[in-house]
């Protein structure tokens, strides 16, 4: 787990300010098949290595970020605002 997370709006901030939702998966279309929805709601890869997750800067700017990190080395590659897009900023 990272000690600090690079919020694109607030800079490097302690992880205690954030809330983690889990894997940054795209929401299927409403009419996507049941299998796609089961996968989205319940199934997770739990990879050993690079992982993109939704993190909420709860005690900061209150923006949702996609944080790219490594579950093995605990490196944080960077983060980007989920809505504003753009490059992942280290």
């Amino acid at each position: 787990m990272a000690s600090r997370v690079p919020c694109p709006h607030c800079g490097l901030r302690p992880k205690e300010e954030f809330t983690i939702k889990g894997a940054a998966l795209p929401r299927p279309a409403p009419d996507a098949g049941e299998a796609a929805w089961i996968e989205y709601v319940y199934l997770r890869e739990n990879p050993r290595g690079a992982y993109d997750e939704f993190w909420h800067h709860t005690s900061g700017c209150r923006r949702w970020l996609v944080v790219s990190r490594n579950t093995l080395t605990h490196d944080v590659y960077g983060a980007r605002d989920v809505a504003l897009g753009g490059e992942t900023q280290p």
Partner: protein
């Protein structure tokens, strides 16, 4: 007891005499003493009893690794057990108490454990106490807990304060010995931001106990000069008394600074300890090396200590170890001590050197016995003699103190806390750590020996780190060092022949050499297994002195190299950290702050009894004179709402403003029911689902303008809903132009309910409140008190009565509530609390999170028709999956006991009539209960299989925990006004 203090020398201030007590006995020390040096100066060698065998123990080291000299400091709420006397600075009035002895330190009953030692060897817990299991709790554990142990924590509250802070630097230097100071000064001169943390009160490390000179200056003077220069650099912060205990991800280090643990009466305006989180771009570990004890019989008898510690007490604290000492060494470092002892006037009976080829040490008068070992030390509460084996012969030499110089273990714990594996170096005779992830080791921590080489190493590692960061460091010139004894690497001595007595490896956990032999014999020779089987290294000292010796002995027993045995895992904390420091300011109300509604004081003035719900203090009921039970008050409040009118504080409901051109579409997607067509000026009850189809939260949302909505959430889920909405707006549908703002604290909100409410409210609200002008579910901005205030009025009802909720700016809450009470007086208005609110809503069959418990979908609660046929909303797809539409789902019903005098409890199970009381026969469970003054009995809401079609059925309500069985009838969940005539009145 005679004094062992030398008449001169050392870094103690003989002008500043400090009185302290040990087990109540008055003693004297000096400023500059540790408790350990002061005890030794007073001749107090017996300091504690060991963990398991209650053996007499004294001071073994002069630092953080101390396993024996653990004492309790202070009294009352400031009682601090297991304090290492070697780390505790002496102060006037210090009260120290020895531990793990009864009735006294000198005469200890528990020492009989030593006689039982054949039964208390390694693995004894597993072997002896496996069977019968019942005896473990009753007999064995209480016995062991009483017999084996450390100090006792106090039950009194800690009167002192603690704090936490962050710090940021380019270079963190851990340890301020010669290496660390050289590294820090290199960084300081290059302009970097530097933090230097040292666990001792005074920086300098070995410079404070060496007799060598640097550029002609004595060690302490040289250290002080370096510190003076560091202090002159504004970007340098030196933290004494600060132990860096952990290395965490992203270059963050944890440190605990003991700000006021060295004073009798801490300044209440400052913390006693401060927890630092230090974000460092690079770090240099200059943590030095720990001297290895030697594993011979009786190596724990008071008077035996490591050579480095003896040298520190002698040179720094001016305390002689005794009158006649011996030094048992495996390398040249023992000779530095021997020389210093002789110069201080202590007779050195012998230097026992394990090497056959030890060189003669110039100027030393002592007899040197080469290729020799100490096999046993003798004595009870103090050492009296040693057995020396040389040439196959044993010689007993009378001594009153013995130094052990077994070589050095670099202190590499921090470097290995994040997965790096130490490697064994035959050349160094020690485990070394690799440089990893921006952390490098320097000086003795990297296996370097000698002051000059350590200095160079510090400069070199700091320069490398700084160059990495883009600084241009100018190397410091290494001082000319004279008189330093630089030990050449020597092979470690693990297995000492001829040992008769207990030879301790782990002093703190009383693990001796035979325990490790046993572990290997019984198949637990793997280092991690041996650790757990013997408990070696599992005490509060984390095996600082014992782990490497244990590895060496395991290696010998298994016939492999120490590298092949490997080390156990290094983890934070390096030394124990107090709960106070970890907690910081987050305790009591700082941990769980009180949230008060804007109407809190209003309710308090009216005698409300408050209940904690989450952080909120909510008014529960408002007792009146003559009411002796809460039920009397609640029944009265309920009946008054049904008959007249009542006022309830609902300010703690979550309130969120949803604004923007796409607000309607947004709400239409976050609620399962339709919101797109909600007209301006209207409120609507909404159900929010989770993506898995289950209900998440409910509440009323009102459209105040074309692009502005006012949402309410349940009190408990206010924060969660806000976060959820932010996720929906930002992650799911960023194309929608919508803004969210939490306004929970901006509004005081009152539910005013009862048949007479309109007359009351009309006296405060300027607009026409007739049913035609302000119908059910109207929601509008209104003018109050003839235009003096604006508020928001919602015609919504949780109680089932004709009711409104009035929101006014928070600061006006109290006056508006008072005005309403005044206006309502002729109509019999009374305040009511959340208990009455609960009864009213159960009577009306309204759900809360008792029913919305994460397992129900809208249809289960009778809301099937609310679910709108629209393209998308959160939870839409999963709501239609098989299990959520299958027959036999739980459905909301009402429940009444057949006998009105009978009752049942929330959580009870519902069984079909005549069914046996088993979980297999479970038909559902009771989610809410209350005594209903309206019905005249207990009523309940329940989730029962196919419940909606079972109204009228007689069932059993079973509470298996309390063995209660009540016959009851399933009913409609709506007990009051099923036709909603009151609502629309």
């Amino acid at each position: 007891m005679s004094s062992y203090r030398l008449p001169s020398g050392g870094l103690v201030d003989r002008a500043a005499s400090l009185a302290f007590t040990f087990d109540g006995k008055p003693m004297q020390g000096f400023a500059g003493d540790t408790l350990a040096s002061a005890l030794l100066a007073n001749g107090q060698r017996l300091v504690g009893r060991s963990f398991k065998y209650h053996r007499p123990r004294g001071v073994l080291t002069a630092g953080a690794a101390e396993p024996n000299a653990l004492v309790t400091i202070g009294t009352g709420g400031r009682t601090e057990p297991n304090t290492r006397a070697t780390m505790q600075e002496l102060y006037a009035g210090l009260e120290a108490t020895s531990q793990n002895r009864w009735p006294s330190l000198a005469f200890d009953v528990g020492a009989v454990n030593g006689l039982l030692s054949p039964f208390l060897g390694a693995g004894f817990y597993y072997k002896t106490f496996m069977w019968p299991a019942g005896l473990w709790e009753k007999l064995y554990e209480p016995f062991i807990r009483k017999a084996a142990g450390l100090g006792r924590a106090t039950y009194e509250a800690d009167p002192d304060s603690y704090e936490k802070c962050w710090a940021h630097c380019d270079l963190l230097v851990v340890g301020a010995g010669v290496t660390g100071l050289a590294a820090a000064l290199t960084a300081a001169r290059s302009g970097a931001r530097v933090i230097v943390a040292d666990e001792h009160a005074r920086a300098g490390g070995d410079l404070l106990s060496t007799t060598a000179t640097l550029d002609g200056l004595a060690g302490p003077a040289y250290a002080d000069a370096m510190l003076r220069e560091l202090a002159s650099h504004p970007e340098v912060q030196v933290l004494p008394r600060a132990t860096v205990f952990g290395w965490y991800d992203g270059g963050v280090f944890g440190a605990v600074e003991r700000v006021q643990k060295h004073v009798a009466a801490p300044d209440p305006r400052r913390p006693v300890e401060r927890l630092w989180r230090i974000a460092a771009r690079r770090a240099v570990l200059a943590t030095g090396a720990e001297e290895r004890p030697l594993v011979f019989g009786g190596n724990d008898i008071p008077g035996v200590m490591t050579a480095g510690a003896m040298r520190t007490y002698l040179n720094r604290h001016a305390v002689a170890p005794g009158r006649r000492a011996a030094v048992f060494t495996t390398n040249d470092s023992g000779y530095a001590l021997a020389g210093d002892l002789e110069r201080a006037g202590v007779e050195v009976a012998a230097v026992i050197d394990s090497r056959p080829d030890a060189l003669a040490f110039p100027g030393l008068r002592a007899r040197v016995i080469r290729e020799a070992v100490v096999s046993d030390a003798h004595g009870g509460r103090e050492i009296q003699a040693v057995d020396v084996w040389a040439d196959g012969k044993r010689e007993r030499i009378a001594v009153d103190s013995l130094a052990m110089a077994g070589g050095f273990n670099p202190v590499i714990a921090l470097a290995c806390q994040r997965g790096a594996k130490p490697r064994w170096s035959d050349a160094h005779g020690a485990f070394l750590a690799p440089d990893v992830d921006g952390l490098s080791l320097a000086g003795a921590a990297a296996g370097v020996t000698g002051l000059a080489a350590c200095f160079e190493s510090g400069v070199r590692q700091a320069s490398a780190a700084l160059s990495d960061l883009g600084f241009r460091p100018t190397p410091l010139a290494t001082p000319v060092v004279e008189g330093d004894v630089v030990p050449a690497p020597a092979p470690p001595l693990w297995m000492i022949p001829g040992v008769k007595g207990k030879a301790f490896v782990d002093y703190q956990n009383d693990v001796h050499r035979a325990d490790l032999d046993l572990a290997v014999r019984e198949g637990y020779g793997h280092v991690e297994l041996a650790k757990r089987y013997t408990t070696n290294g599992m005490a509060t000292d984390q095996g600082k002195l014992s782990n490497v010796n244990a590895i060496g002995l395991l290696a010998k027993a298994r016939g492999v190299s120490p590298g092949e045995v490997g080390t156990t895992t290094f983890r934070p904390f390096y030394t124990p950290v107090s709960f106070g420091a970890l907690t910081g300011a987050h305790h009591g109300k700082h941990f769980q702050p009180v949230r008060k509604s804007p109407l809190h004081d209003w309710a308090a003035r009216r005698g409300a009894v408050f209940v904690e719900t989450g952080l909120w203090y909510r008014s529960s009921w408002f007792p009146r004179d003559g009411e002796t039970t809460w039920r009397q008050s609640v029944d009265r409040e309920v009946l008054n709402v049904r008959a007249n009118v009542g006022l309830c504080d609902v300010s703690m409901l979550g309130k969120i403003e949803v604004c923007g051109p796409d607000a309607a579409e947004f709400l239409n997607r976050v609620y399962c029911n339709g919101f797109a067509k909600l007209p301006v000026g209207k409120a609507r009850y909404g159900l929010m689902l989770r993506e898995d189809g289950f209900i998440y939260d409910d509440g009323t949302t009102s459209r105040l303008a074309e692009d502005r909505y006012f949402m309410t959430t349940t009190t408990a889920y206010a924060a969660g809903v806000m976060t959820h909405l932010e996720f929906c707006a930002q992650a799911l549908w960023p194309e929608l132009d919508v803004r969210l703002a939490s306004v929970t604290d901006q509004w005081a909100q009152m539910a005013v309910a009862g048949p007479k409410v309109r007359e009351v409210l009309q006296r405060v609200v300027d607009e026409d409140l007739s049913n035609a002008a302000f119908p059910y579910l109207a929601a509008r901005d209104v003018s109050l008190f003839g235009g003096r205030l604006r508020g928001r009025l919602f015609r919504i009802s949780f109680s089932g009565e004709l009711a409104y909720e009035l929101a006014v700016p928070a600061d006006y809450g109290e006056s508006v509530a008072d005005a309403l009470m005044q206006a309502g007086e002729p109509f019999g208005i009374q305040p009511y609390g959340v208990e009455a609110l609960g009864v009213l809503r159960i009577e009306k069959g309204h759900v809360t999170h008792n029913e919305i418990n994460g397992t129900v979908v809208p249809a289960d609660l009778g809301f099937a028709r609310m679910v709108a046929d629209k393209p998308d909303f959160v939870g839409k797809r999963m709501l239609s999956r098989e299990a959520l539409v299958a027959p036999g789902r739980p459905q909301l019903v009402g429940l009444v006991p057949l006998d009105p005098a009978a009752s049942f409890r929330t959580g009870s199970h519902v069984l079909s009539k005549g069914a046996a009381a088993t979980l297999e026969n479970d038909q559902g469970y009771v989610t809410s209960t209350a005594f209903s003054p309206h019905v005249g009995s207990t009523i309940g809401l329940a989730l029962v299989k196919n419940g909606a079609s079972r109204h009228g059925e007689e069932v059993l309500v079973w509470n298996g925990l309390r063995n209660e069985m009540t016959t009851a009838r399933l009913t409609s969940p709506v007990f009051v006004d099923p036709a909603n005539e009151k609502l629309h009145a």
